[in-house]
Symmetry: D2
Subunit: 421 residues, 4 copies
Amino acid sequence: MATRANSVPHPTLVQVDPFISAHEQRGIHNRWHPDIPAFATVKPGQVFNIECVDWTGAQIGNNDCSDDVKNVDLTKIHNLSGPIAVEGAEPGDCLVVDILDVRPFDKMPWGYTGIFELENGGGLFAREFNSRAAKAIWDFHGVYATSRHIPGVRFAGVSHPGLIGTAPSAELLATWNKREGELVAANPNAVPPVAFLPNATGAYVGQELPNDVREKIYREGARTVPGREHGGNCDIKNLSRGSRCYFPVFVKGANLSVGDLHFSQGDVKISFCGAIEMAGIITFSTSIIKGGVEKFALKQPIFLPSPVDPLYSAKLVFEGISVDVHGDGKQYDMDATVAYKQAALNAITYLMKLGYTREQAYLLLSAAPVESHVGAIVDSPNACVTLALPLGIFEHDILPKEEGLTKKNFGQCAIRSDGVV
Amino acid sequence: MATRANSVPHPTLVQVDPFISAHEQRGIHNRWHPDIPAFATVKPGQVFNIECVDWTGAQIGNNDCSDDVKNVDLTKIHNLSGPIAVEGAEPGDCLVVDILDVRPFDKMPWGYTGIFELENGGGLFAREFNSRAAKAIWDFHGVYATSRHIPGVRFAGVSHPGLIGTAPSAELLATWNKREGELVAANPNAVPPVAFLPNATGAYVGQELPNDVREKIYREGARTVPGREHGGNCDIKNLSRGSRCYFPVFVKGANLSVGDLHFSQGDVKISFCGAIEMAGIITFSTSIIKGGVEKFALKQPIFLPSPVDPLYSAKLVFEGISVDVHGDGKQYDMDATVAYKQAALNAITYLMKLGYTREQAYLLLSAAPVESHVGAIVDSPNACVTLALPLGIFEHDILPKEEGLTKKNFGQCAIRSDGVV
Amino acid sequence: MATRANSVPHPTLVQVDPFISAHEQRGIHNRWHPDIPAFATVKPGQVFNIECVDWTGAQIGNNDCSDDVKNVDLTKIHNLSGPIAVEGAEPGDCLVVDILDVRPFDKMPWGYTGIFELENGGGLFAREFNSRAAKAIWDFHGVYATSRHIPGVRFAGVSHPGLIGTAPSAELLATWNKREGELVAANPNAVPPVAFLPNATGAYVGQELPNDVREKIYREGARTVPGREHGGNCDIKNLSRGSRCYFPVFVKGANLSVGDLHFSQGDVKISFCGAIEMAGIITFSTSIIKGGVEKFALKQPIFLPSPVDPLYSAKLVFEGISVDVHGDGKQYDMDATVAYKQAALNAITYLMKLGYTREQAYLLLSAAPVESHVGAIVDSPNACVTLALPLGIFEHDILPKEEGLTKKNFGQCAIRSDGVV
Amino acid sequence: MATRANSVPHPTLVQVDPFISAHEQRGIHNRWHPDIPAFATVKPGQVFNIECVDWTGAQIGNNDCSDDVKNVDLTKIHNLSGPIAVEGAEPGDCLVVDILDVRPFDKMPWGYTGIFELENGGGLFAREFNSRAAKAIWDFHGVYATSRHIPGVRFAGVSHPGLIGTAPSAELLATWNKREGELVAANPNAVPPVAFLPNATGAYVGQELPNDVREKIYREGARTVPGREHGGNCDIKNLSRGSRCYFPVFVKGANLSVGDLHFSQGDVKISFCGAIEMAGIITFSTSIIKGGVEKFALKQPIFLPSPVDPLYSAKLVFEGISVDVHGDGKQYDMDATVAYKQAALNAITYLMKLGYTREQAYLLLSAAPVESHVGAIVDSPNACVTLALPLGIFEHDILPKEEGLTKKNFGQCAIRSDGVV
């Protein structure tokens, strides 16, 4: 019939199996390095798909026990698909990337959010809470997610890549390694560590390479944990399907890599494995603006958010000021991180009044489309940060009432087999 | 005719003249202290107006020179109207405050945004920029503001009180003074100071009081600069007309005070006198939830934002990571304040490519309905903060273009009479 | 002090008293005619205020009886303030009007919505319901309205002029009178009448004029009920404060008139006196685009909505199709008016399940920020129209529940002294 | 690895091939009738997929000629997948349907919008324009659509089923056939016809059935063109992925059918094949509320819109009043259909000033996320309807400018091989 003609699917340039270990698959790498060759090349304007395993490379299971989170091998993260070279891109150009779609594999309609152990990953409250492994499994029902581990909520995901970036130049990589090395050197005994330095253990590149090249990459390659000047692990929920990003180009071809897909995440990614982590498919098209780094003063990526985000307009908002770290009651000097922690703690305490456990609340704030705004960082000595909990994600009324809040029993999320939380 | 019957205006409980020095007027105080008596009392449910002078108490003029900003007397800020007691409120209760409206005086349809001197007020970039006084005057045209000092922008204000809070108890006040005193003691030579401690100079209470009471208030009263557990100078743009706030009550009657009205402010209040400062009228109603502090775990206010905010959905977003303070290139450990500064600097640099001066850009980010979100504070060592510039506030297209950005001449904002910027 | 200098309020070009009959006041007219001289003249770019009485000119009172609605004199509506001439405007130009603000008088913080008698005004359901006079008084609390006659709702107003337009030319006026006369001639006995033709009774112009001129205006002047090519009584809620309108100019000076201010109205203005009617102040500025009628093919006004509308994103939506007028069960041919009626009836029936009376529901749909969208008018024979009831305006949960809807007692709105509804 | 366990995809209950004629495939029917047996049965709460061919059943091709539209066989539309029975549903119940996702087949990333011939389908302007076949092919790039036939626009789709409904009872079906038959009888020579009556030609049911049953269905089955009390072809863009619908149940099992998927449609579906028609996959879950028809007074479906719609807040709005049908200049009596046509014509004329052809403009209004609101239907004799064109879908500035509009050359959409438009 008429519809068959000219029905050409968009090509899939990296194909992966979300059920197989990432290091056994082609097209997946887990370090940033200029010497990782392009795995595929596209022309500007072409629409293409990239498949991604989840950020751990299939280490976390759909079950009711968090031992897999406890024992996760963090030398193997994050698993990135690519790099994809764009014809004509040169250092100093701006690579325009349209994130056209992000979705889970049909055969894996679930994801997870995890609290990591203090000694293996940590998280914003790892020290305050002396965190032990916990997790929530989320089931995907089309645009919605629900969790048997956090009953009473249901929300539309604002899907996006947690991690996307262009390859660094050798100079930029050296800068990263130097400055992060200095930070670690200044905090030698921090638990969790203040930064993750290059580490050959667990590294892979997803391609056949000469031994010396591969070993150089393993030895020097920047870890994927932080976001940096090239993008990387920014965990910005607004880099969602429908958004347009402007990346600085540091190497010929730009060499774009992507991974760590999220079905949903709010502003408040506070557990180390915040967001609803998933494996899935991302669709891109690209273009190049010659000399864009200079034209737009691109020190880091800039972007246009998508028009398609979920609209949860009614919210309950919590405030935090830069006073008190783990009960010390101290005044901190316009420290937005402390203020943010306080706002999150205030929200967690409120959710516990409704019957959620501390772990459930911690996971929920990381996974749901929560917003966090910086109010002001100028009213010495207090920074003020807000955290807005959308009312529409709850199946029950959570508003303050004359008679107080009704405490329900929501059970508990998945915890360790030894019962320690 | 028929309409005359039952036409009863809402009462105005504090009446001020925006053209007269605040300390000469009744009902205006500028310190937080439990012993300041209620200036007026309302019943729960009553709708009432409160008039406010601008935060400086008429020190800043509608002119083209910033000398008044340079010489502003900061011992006299912020000027608060009140306190207003609510019948029946007791410590431990929750005071529900509906912010029903906020608007300028008809006779003073303008406001201002200021960059303060490094040595007199400072601001987020006071040290980096070695700030000298500058300002922008904004003209109000109904819901819109424009400025002859920052041409090419026009936006709807999201009006709100910069400063609103209940009176502290003696215990809470003592806690504030102790913790802030310790911070100052630890940073004795900071310029600008890291906190503003009690200071009898410039203090007033707007009422006749016995000398010993007044002097105690002057001696002990907390300064108004930071937001604290009672609300205060939170500078949260979402506390706008139409919002409902839940304040903890610390003294009998709650003793609500308000001031520092803003015609508009974004999340990014980065200049010390960010926001569009105005004198005006705020309309409230209140109710009481007995024992609300315990019921809702109220460590700080919580609130429901208004449904009436301006909707500028299309935005250009800048990112910042916690690297580099004033060019040091250093890696900071998940410091959201540094990340926020970087996002703001990236936006300022971009605006300068369009032709705005650094001062204009600094003021614009403080005054316009800009959004700043915390992305993630968990991806060690980089916190990631975004700053979203709404496209709809510009009268010209500011998007990245293939051909680069067009640099226009927007002149300069109001600067000092000696020309120093 | 510094603030006094250059504090110049926007001028008020038409000043009225909302408690005095409209025909006794200067600057108020109630017919459209090219020969009504400009009451005031402005320059392009100038910001100015216009005061307006309510549309009936003070005929309706703040009380609990609808007899004033029953007996309202409709020859005296709508009361328009103006006309305002804009220097330089010529026929064929486009008059750009910025609606900068709309607000009630401080001394009259209330408004009303009315169901009119079948024989005196009517309304969309006048015949189906055999309408008798009823009304709801709304109290304004800043941006919010509530009504003692319709308990359980509270919403932010999206204030706008129900009626705004430029003066018609003699030719355009003749066209109106001809086509409307033909419609009346074809439906001579309709109750309520299908159109209101020129009628000297009750007419006034708000200015001293030679008798012959005044009498010509009275004799020929178009009634104000319908919207027409010049704007007029379009009752578009989106012409709200913050919007920019482009009007065709038909006479020298454009001669803009405005009145019938609404504190709030949804898309669904179904009672003849739908909307929350108020007296108040509107703020404008204008500019001229020469030859704009041709440039933009202006057959009627076009406009840019305001960014400041209330955001009630969660809604319950009712559908209507073009079947059934007053129980006849008949199929109508893609008739959007019938479909709209059905959607409104479905919503009214639903509200009655919640305990509202039919009159309360009818008034509420007219006054609240309800949305009505045309779905499709192409699927013969059914047009499909939707009506969306915002959940956030109700103080209780109105969603469909497994256990059905809870019927509360909300009393009744204001009805006639003889008790007939 | 860990992810393999418990990875169970949602089942697909109807599987189709979008490249094969609908009548050759199982599970596709194109009439409404109570005797069509359920094709599959689900339990309440189950998540499942349904695949759908495009509404014509593969009659329209991805090419640059509209002859396929000219010759389309309308006896074969609309192709519906199902019916799906829900265990436990009985007449009088309410079937709650969650539309969890709607997306095109990966292998068919395109869709189309068509103008149909006056004599074969028609459309809102079929008579005014004497419509000849034309079409636009849209390419899907993730959430976005673009068309080589309408250059200069790109927008995010708000995907939804154009047609979804429960099976009618025998009584309801008889009512439909009676009332529509009477309308046709009263307009015997209308071109296009005012309604489509039962017609055995082209009918099919997608299942093996006894001859007498099948023939009864063919003879009596209601055509799919209009929306009716059971839902059906409502073409409501807000029934989008993420929405929850409440359908009345008329037969045991409810027997839900769905088809006519749209990648995008605005409120303004004015061409007979408005919307961007596509083949694809829809994901559902269901639940039952016993006795819901009575509980909620369900005369027609009601629904909760999705939180995930595209947000295009800046718009240019056109008005229409109920004057003039095809140039007759006549006054119509509060006829919203006429007002809607006028608003659409005003928008089409404006788009032609920008360089689009009349056919391109007609197709664009049908396909893009345009909004159309009913302003008021009470201001006799004019109904007022608005049409809002989102600025963000255009790649160029379409706002009114001092200097007028810039007319570009956008070519033409796909037209007939004989060149007639």
